[in-house]
């Protein structure tokens, strides 16, 4: 059985991961669409910036977020003065840190899914009276659904496991920013913490596996429903 502290860490992790995924989803879809369909100056630079959190030490984006959004930082001070919003050292900051770190994992599969869709399908829709928005939501999004699901699950899973950036930006505050990985880290540094740390390790492994299995099952089902299994012309 889990202790109240462990349940709190689990609940917080799920909340942070869900919000981070919700934050990444619209931005990831929009950016993936632009990257898949358009050529423009600075595209390579934008691509590098999107992928950067994957290769940087996680503490670096976390520290940069703190410099930018801390109450003394240019954006953080403005948010506090104008709206009374504090992001650093709150669960909202944990969401932002997770979203920044998980965003590249959302963009990769969604972008690939968009690239596999023949643009003439959207053109066909517009010649049948659909506006570009309608074509996007009735043709493009359903066809990209397996990639969108895969990206969302990867984003969620990465957010569940986020540690370095969260630690640097929002610290390790029980009940506010202490997610599963931070709780495990904390338990490993107190006497007698091995047993609860191990329980949370099992729980983390189980959650990640469930998320990945769910991703595969949902993606395969979506692919079957979209007729991808036997129609390779879109690949």
């Amino acid at each position: 059985m889990l202790t109240p502290e462990e349940i709190q860490a689990l609940y917080l992790s799920a909340k942070v991961a869900l919000w981070a995924t919700a934050l990444c989803l619209p931005a990831g879809i929009a950016l993936s669409w632009v990257m898949a369909r358009y050529e423009f100056r600075g595209k390579l630079l934008l691509d590098v910036l999107i992928q950067l959190p994957m290769v940087l030490p996680p503490v670096v984006p976390g520290y940069l977020l703190l410099l930018l959004l801390g109450t003394q930082g240019p954006v953080g001070a403005w948010l506090l003065a104008q709206f009374g919003i504090v992001i650093a050292f709150t669960w909202k900051g944990a969401v932002l840190a997770s979203a920044v770190m998980a965003f590249p994992l959302m963009v990769q599969p969604v972008r690939l899914a968009f690239r596999m869709i023949d643009p003439r399908l959207e053109q066909a829709a517009t010649t049948l009276g659909a506006t570009p928005w309608r074509a996007f939501f009735t043709i493009t999004i359903p066809l990209a659904l397996p990639g969108i699901i895969a990206g969302s699950v990867l984003c969620f899973s990465r957010s569940l496991g986020e540690f370095g950036a969260t630690m640097a930006f929002v610290g390790n505050i029980p009940g506010e920013t202490r997610t599963l990985p931070l709780a495990i880290y904390s338990y490993t540094h107190v006497p007698g913490g091995e047993s609860p740390a191990m329980r949370l390790v099992y729980l983390s492994v189980a959650l990640a596996m469930v998320a990945l299995f769910a991703s595969h099952i949902i993606s395969r089902r979506a692919e079957r429903q979209l007729g991808y299994a036997s129609d390779r012309s879109l690949r």
Binding site: A125, T126, P142, G227
Partner: protein, 211 residues
Amino acid sequence: MKVDLTFKRGEFQLAAQVELNGGVTGICGPSGVGKSTFLALLAGLLRPNTGTLNFSGVDLIDTQRDIFVPAWKRHFGLVFQNGMLFPHLSVRDNLLYGFNRLNPNERHLDLKTVTALLEIEPLLQRRPDQLSGGERQRVALGRALLYSPRLLLLDEPLSSLDDRLKQQILPFLKRVKEETRIPMIYVTHAQAEVDYLADRVLKMEDGRLGE
């Protein structure tokens, strides 16, 4: 319809100055001379560099006055080379994609009439990946017809089919011509197809359209 358009993309140039009336106009020419580009310009999928396009007295394009009516407002049907059926929708939903967006008073044909005309009733519940090449093209044609287009553009609709299937589909196209009376522009590199279907044949060579 009065067309006076120029289009340039890299080395490729297209110039079309022609007046088209009802019936079926065939546009014949070898691959790569700009036939599909011409249809895409008429459909509103590409913007010309200069020129005008007037259909039934309404300017759809006038580059000098910055007029460009987009594809979804032109009400022209376009049948693509390989059908371009939506793979996630059933044949029925493909057929009704444009039809459902029309006001009832704009619908000149119904599902029953079109499926009977093209003999595709047994296919309605199938997915596009369960259709043969000929069936796909008939469904694509039906989808465009159900949108009750003011003009039907056909972009090499038979080029991906073998000769046996072409012979099966050409009579359907003739039936569509005779029974719907929708003006059509039929683009192909096969002279025999336009000889069979078209009332008037234009030639396209090196991006230039002429009699």
